[in-house]
Symmetry: C2
Subunit: 416 residues, 2 copies
């Protein structure tokens, strides 16, 4: 395949109002899903599309940051860029005039997420393959060259990363059948905070009919009895074999988290998600000990690989919910996947991308890194806005076949 050269960068601030109650949780009461979209226009009929999620008006700040940062990609051939993407990302993240705004967190880091994801989408399109296949086709050295592993040296060096990938290669064949079989999704859209009990019941029953066996309920209500009542109801509907996750979206302070986790233990959660502040590694670590054998999921607000390293070293998380629209894109997601692999923990992504990119990444993690669990959140509200929405049938994610990272949006197609 010939390469292509980035000729201009365009940025779109796309907002998607949701149906009443959809997306609501303990801290985001009335969200508007917003995507900060990066378009890498090239000299071929190919455009790389990257996205990062925010929940409203702050989206324009991320778009402004993309404009500042992405202009430096002008003139790069995508092949040359990707051959040293790790170094380029390191330079962008450490820009002396912008680093003060983070480092490696907040608006600027969300902008890097969108930019990095656009690079990967463009590269996969230029190669004519879906992202999961591109990732699997790269040599270990090529893949690691796309990663910025700085500040992880006490856990994983570049040499360690290459060795980890190489050691897993013999096991790939055993894992590849997942490409044909697909893997289960879990349904987050049954249990939004603002939905009343009857709505949750109705949606869960409908999801069961569609083939789902795993469901998320938003908790962290100011009415704690409501949380407990709805958890009991959902357990009854889902049955003993159903998989339930309770998500507090950071609402509880540490003492409240302990109390509520114990109250919800009766309903046998698969995990308790974001029980308290996402920076509070110590509280997560203490809580993990206190509620065992119940387990903690976290990551959608863990801003970078260094914080994930700390969560892992202090045993503050069991299910690593890395999100390539919170981290600096696919590249940092892979770096965190290597960290999690080293610590023997599963990556179950949070889907700020509505699963579009992550449907590729869980395939890669399973096949190339031997991550045991292939399981992905499903949130359908933006389906109609994607050119190639993730296909979930019978509760199972089907493997995407179109070239790219599945990030093309109709909204933006209209806008241009």
């Amino acid at each position: 395949m010939p390469t292509c050269t980035i000729q201009s960068v365009q940025v779109v601030d796309a907002r998607f109002p949701l149906p009443p109650g959809a997306g609501s949780d303990a801290v985001h009461t009335d969200p508007v899903y917003a995507m900060a979209l990066t378009y890498l226009k090239t000299d071929r009929d190919l455009t790389g599309v990257g996205l990062a999620l925010t929940l409203g008006d702050g989206n324009r700040l991320v778009c402004e940051a993309i404009k500042i940062l992405a202009q430096r990609l002008d003139g790069w051939s995508i092949d040359a860029l990707m051959a040293g993407l790790g170094r380029v990302m390191n330079e962008l993240a450490n820009d002396p005039a912008l680093r003060w705004l983070g480092p490696h967190k907040g608006v600027v880091h969300l902008a890097l997420a969108s930019i990095n994801n656009a690079c990967w989408d463009l590269w996969a399109k230029a190669q004519g393959v879906p992202l999961w296949k591109l990732l699997l086709d790269l040599s270990d050295e090529e893949l690691v060259a796309t990663l910025d592993l700085s500040y992880l040296e006490d856990e994983i060096t570049v040499a360690d990363a290459i060795r980890m990938l190489r050691e897993e290669r013999p096991k790939r064949a055993d894992r590849e059948p997942v490409v044909k079989s697909g893997y289960p999704g879990y349904d987050t859209s049954v249990g939004w905070m603002a939905y009343d009990d009857s709505r949750v019941r109705e949606l869960t029953l409908r999801a069961i009919d569609c083939g789902f066996r795993a469901f998320k309920l938003k908790v962290g209500s100011s009415d704690e009895e409501r949380d407990v009542r709805r958890a009991a109801m959902l357990r009854k509907i889902a049955g003993d074999q159903g998989i339930l996750m309770f998500d507090a979206n950071q609402r509880w302070n540490p003492p409240d988290a302990l109390r509520m986790c114990k109250a919800l233990a009766a309903f046998h959660p698969h995990w308790i998600e974001e029980p308290t502040h996402p920076d509070d590694i110590h509280a997560h670590s203490e809580l993990a000990r206190a509620i065992a054998p119940d387990r903690i999921a976290a990551g959608e607000h863990v801003p970078n690989r260094v914080m994930f390293k700390n969560f892992l070293l202090y045993s503050g998380v069991h299910f690593v919910q890395a999100d390539c629209t919170r981290l600096a894109g696919v590249s940092e997601f892979v770096a965190v996947s290597l960290l999690a692999k080293k610590h023997g923990l599963p990556i179950v992504p949070h889907v700020g991308d509505m699963g579009q990119i992550h449907q590729h990444l869980v395939l890669f993690n399973h096949i190339a890194l031997n991550h045991e669990i292939v399981f992905l959140e499903h949130i359908p509200h933006l389906r109609s806005h994607f050119l190639f929405p993730a296909e979930v049938a019978g509760g199972v994610y089907r493997t995407p076949q179109q070239p790219g990272a599945s990030t093309d949006m109709r909204y933006a197609a209209d806008a241009h």
Copy 2:
């Protein structure tokens, strides 16, 4: 004093180019000091001025965020606002449409710093007293009502905070002489990274002549021998009684930090500052153990009270360099001061404000919280831009007497 009512908010993106080499360190090679300024205009001839520092073009992102957030202050009387400032700050920081951009970090949090500092400046001006006196004059309950202590409940509740303040009141009289005597500054401007050895020597000798006894040297050069050579030189110039701090500005990865701290130990640093990534609590904690009795300073990039709580609980820092232009203003600075007090650690602020606000805050911490150490960084480059620049004479900070937080700037006065 009559109160005043906020009638409009103006935001100024002020940039201050520096003399060649000034402000340079291991990661900020050619900084432009930039201030994101919040102006709270009122119905009296009083304007509250708040500031947050950034290092260049990213400043405009912070200014944009201030515009979004500060508009909600329109129409508040300053007395009513300050009577419940903690709750207001909590609501601003947890705005459902903006919270995703943090939470409590990055561009949005820097905006809150500027906003909160403007509120304190306005309140002090409305009372006709300098900020340090306002803080000391408040009742314990009034002060604590200005703080957002959420997510600290496992360490400090509202009741704990009030009790801590009350218990220190009997000791205030012993501490109050500092208002007359002043307290020592230390000179950061002798040892910028880009200054050559002869410049460092010349500036240090001049600072000694001016009365300074404590000096900071930037380290973290790609030429490690240069770091060691300059540390040796500075120790020789300052003599055995001189106080030296070595500041790596996050440049080292964890293994490099350990190696370089050991190499620099020969020169008896008072502290090693920002040895590695500011999110890497585990690395700081391990390093603190490994280099004892040498000690670590950190905080200028610790984004919020929750991260500071974690640094304290994991023993990753000895000198807490809280900065009210990184944290959400004076309010969160006081919250972190309470945390540090509980852990028996000194606050020695980083001066993103060039010491203008912090000269008040160290007086408050010493007198009201019985923080032993009164010692403050001195960076003189923006002196001429402030209406009432901090007065440092004989190496000693003199107590400011003008009403407010000393944040009025000439630049902005011109701009309006």
